[in-house]
Amino acid sequence: MEKKKLLVLFTVFLTALILMSAGCIGQSAQTGTPAGETLAENTADGSQHADVVYLSGGDYGYPQPFTIYPRGPGSSKVGMIFDSLVERDEIGIIPWLAESWEVSSDGMEYTFYLREGVTWSDGEPFTASDVKFTFDYEQENVPISGGIESGVVDNVQVVDPNTVKFVLVQPASSFLYKLTSFNIIPEHIYKDVSDPFTFLDPEAVIGTGPFLLDEYNKEHGSYRFVTNDNFWGPDTAVEAVEFIPVSDSLIAFEQGQIDFTSISPDILDRFTSDPDVRIVQQPAFWGYQFYFNMKACPELADRRVRQAFAYAIDRDELVKKIARGAGKSGKMGILSEDHIWYNPDQPEYSYDPEKAGELLEEAGWIDTDGDGIRDKNGEKLSYVLSLGSGEVRIGELIKERLSEAGIDVQVKALESKSRDTNLKNGDFELLISGFGGWGADADYLRTRYCDTTQSGSVSSGAAVFGYHNDTLNALGTQELQELDDEKRKEIVYDMQTVLANDIPAIPLYYTTSYDVWRISKYDGWMNMYDHHARTHSILSYLERDRIAAKR
């Protein structure tokens, strides 16, 4: 008797639940914009000014370079307060605290001519000695982000109050790019601070930048930035920026609590007919990479085997089924097609299981015992694929495709940090990891895939995974020393061709989420040429005139 009643009650509850959730996502899921179909652009003019812009918050630490958290957008909040010598706009690097600069012909000396009349927000003048101080100080106290790693700059010299010279250890073509995130801190404040990691005073956030930190609440994860009236640069187009805590940014956006958010393609339809909402896709600068461990599995050192993987994995399917169309499939030259130096003329690998089979046969992998898995000398082509718990569906699809080519894969989901540790220690066979920064300076092709660099970057995995290519190493060395951008671009193109032939790793796909914002609130959002998030650019909050004029 009791059981029956229970059952009835439960059914009622479940039905109610299904109905509720159907009301929530049902209608849009059925009519979601199919992959590839471009959106009709909202051509209406939006507001170019706002008193306050509300954005999704969360605690990312006190916004000075030493106290932000390594996870999340802490560094962009530091950038609202602290300026760098050079900044990034839609196209490239622009002058910022440095009005102009000169590079010596051997590429060893960078001389920066600083803007005059710049003051810190407490009224003290900004000078070349602040720049030198920042560098010296950060050699002792390594900041969370924006520091210059050792082995790049030998020393910094103050030439006169408005001129500062960086002497490098060796020519580094990506040096200027590194400086775009090198935030200058005030000497007159920090010189007395022995431990900046515990420095949470109001003085810790005195900068030269366009905004002041008006309020920060750690426990609730809210920030309020207001215009710095002493700012040397263009006026702020947004008087104040408030980051407020939300549990679900989509709902908060729909209810008008925040003015900007990113959404999944499944719910696009809710906004496409709203004349007040602008929808723009992000550039493809966040992606998933598939790693081979050639040290642990020597047969993977055979290029044909890795190429077979590239043919067998259906990357378009991943974009369609996992990213729901909001992504671009991986290019074997590593750089995404939205990267400024993407080489459109590189070897392509479209989904072709037959070709994969041919390559494996050529390499001597044949299914001799008819179990569907290829083998050679008694060894089976069978691997464990490690990934984070959020990437299981990607892993399952890949497993299916690879089994068609006769490669056996077991998917092993790990907690994120365990996966990272295995990746770092080379303790895996195949592995998937997702990260951002694919739009950054192309020098990362060198640091990740050349095993010549002794650079300590965790992701410079070539040595760890047992990948070695002399041609690539030579190109990498050239690229690092080439100061002419056009020539350097040529080298980077060549590097992509080499990589695409060799497949040291497979970028699976890069995501292109949809940004949505209310144009009547504020419409001045812009993308830096190397970054996917519009809200992270300082220029998004400024008038686009003078130094920051649109190019």
Binding site: E2, L6, L9, F13, L17, M20, C24, G57, G61, Y62, Y69, P70, R71, G72, P73, S75, V142, I144, E149, S150, F197, T198, L200, K218, E219, H220, G221, E242, I244, P245, V246, S247, D248, A252, Q255, Q257, W286, A323, G388, E415, S416, K417, S418, D420, T421, N422, L423, K424, S433, G434, F435, G436, G437, G456, S457, V458, T511, S513, H532, H536
Partner: protein, 327 residues
């Protein structure tokens, strides 16, 4: 008596030491360290990937490159002076981080304990009084079915219905951001307004247990001789139920309430996540994800100590309710 007390204190201290040791070594046995993150957890998330040089610098700065036993000794020594260490992720003293977030958790846990105990006892009494009648059956099946819903799911449903559709309650947080209050009354109201749904969720998840316990104990108690005696003395039904039956039936309920706080401290992690409520549970979660050893140790210690204290309190209250039990 003196001997008893000594052995009691000894037991308490050794329990504490074991807890401390587990709190210290367990987090350090997880793979990775606070600075070795290379992958993001969700699409579009940004992480700062540290160079090996940076990683070693920070390991040294926080003393994590020293032998484990040495770190443990330092930890124990600092603990003696009341120093819980400094959070690696938040860069603040662990005690400050805990003091920021603990009050919120205490608010919803205590609120939920009070509400679920009181309403559980009331419903249980009503049910026992109307035993085998319709209302008893409906309550019984309804509440048991309810107890099967995991608390985070319940929280999600409440959030969807009351915050998203009806817009009666806030979507997240514990206070209105950047609010200017006209006096403490308005502030208290704002805090209660934000705490309401988390408290209700937690209460509902605990309600059934209290209800069933009250109901069943009452049913057992009411068959006892002393109840018959009380009735025979001609006492009114109300007095019999409240002074004689309920008072005796409450003993196990009090014990349960003590344990309940411990259970809720665990469940609160999920509920806080659903409501983005800035309590200790959310903090623990991010501390584990970020391998923030000092913070994990600190929070686990607070939870362990609060459970120990609750058990002690239960013993004390027990003594008050039932003079036969004494410590």
């Amino acid at each position: 008596m003196e001997k008893d007390r000594n052995s009691f204190i000894f037991r308490l201290l050794s329990t504490l030491f074991v807890i401390l040791a587990i709190n210290f070594f367990l987090p350090r046995m997880m793979p990775g360290d606070p600075f070795s993150t290379t992958s993001a957890d969700e699409v579009g998330e940004e992480i700062i990937v540290m160079t090996e040089e940076q990683r070693l610098y920070y390991l040294n700065y926080y003393g994590l490159d020293r032998p484990l036993y040495e770190q443990f000794l330092v930890y124990m020594k600092n603990l003696m002076t009341g120093d819980l260490g400094r959070s690696i992720y938040y860069k603040m003293p662990v005690s400050d981080v805990i003091m920021l977030h603990l009050p919120w958790t205490v608010l919803i846990v205590v609120g939920a304990t009070v509400i679920s105990t009181i309403s559980g006892v009331i419903l249980g009494t009503l049910s026992a009084k109307n035993r085998k009648k319709g209302s008893d059956r409906i309550m019984m099946t309804g509440l048991i079915a309810f107890a099967e819903i995991p608390s985070f799911l319940l929280g999600l449903i409440l959030l969807l219905v009351f915050s998203v559709y009806l817009r009666l309650f806030p979507l997240a947080g514990a206070v209105t951001p950047f609010a200017d209050y006209n006096g403490p009354a308005e502030q208290a109201w704002d805090i209660l307004y934000h705490a309401f749904l988390p408290i209700v969720t937690l209460s509902l998840s605990q309600l059934t247990g209290v209800y069933l316990l009250t109901r069943n104990t009452l049913i057992t108690v009411t068959t006892k001789d002393y109840i018959r005696t009380a009735r025979a003395k001609g006492l009114g039904e109300k007095t019999v139920w409240i002074r004689h039956a309920l008072r005796n039936a409450l003993l196990p309920v009090v014990t349960r309430t003590g344990f309940m706080i411990g259970i809720m401290m665990g469940g609160v992690v999920l509920v806080e996540s659903v409501f983005s409520y800035p309590g200790i549970g959310m903090t623990l979660r991010s501390a584990v994800v970020g391998r923030d050893y000092p913070l994990i140790q600190g929070i686990l210690l607070v939870i362990a100590v609060s459970i120990l204290v609750c058990n002690l309190l239960v013993d004390k209250i027990y003594g008050k309710l039932d003079p036969r039990v004494g410590i």
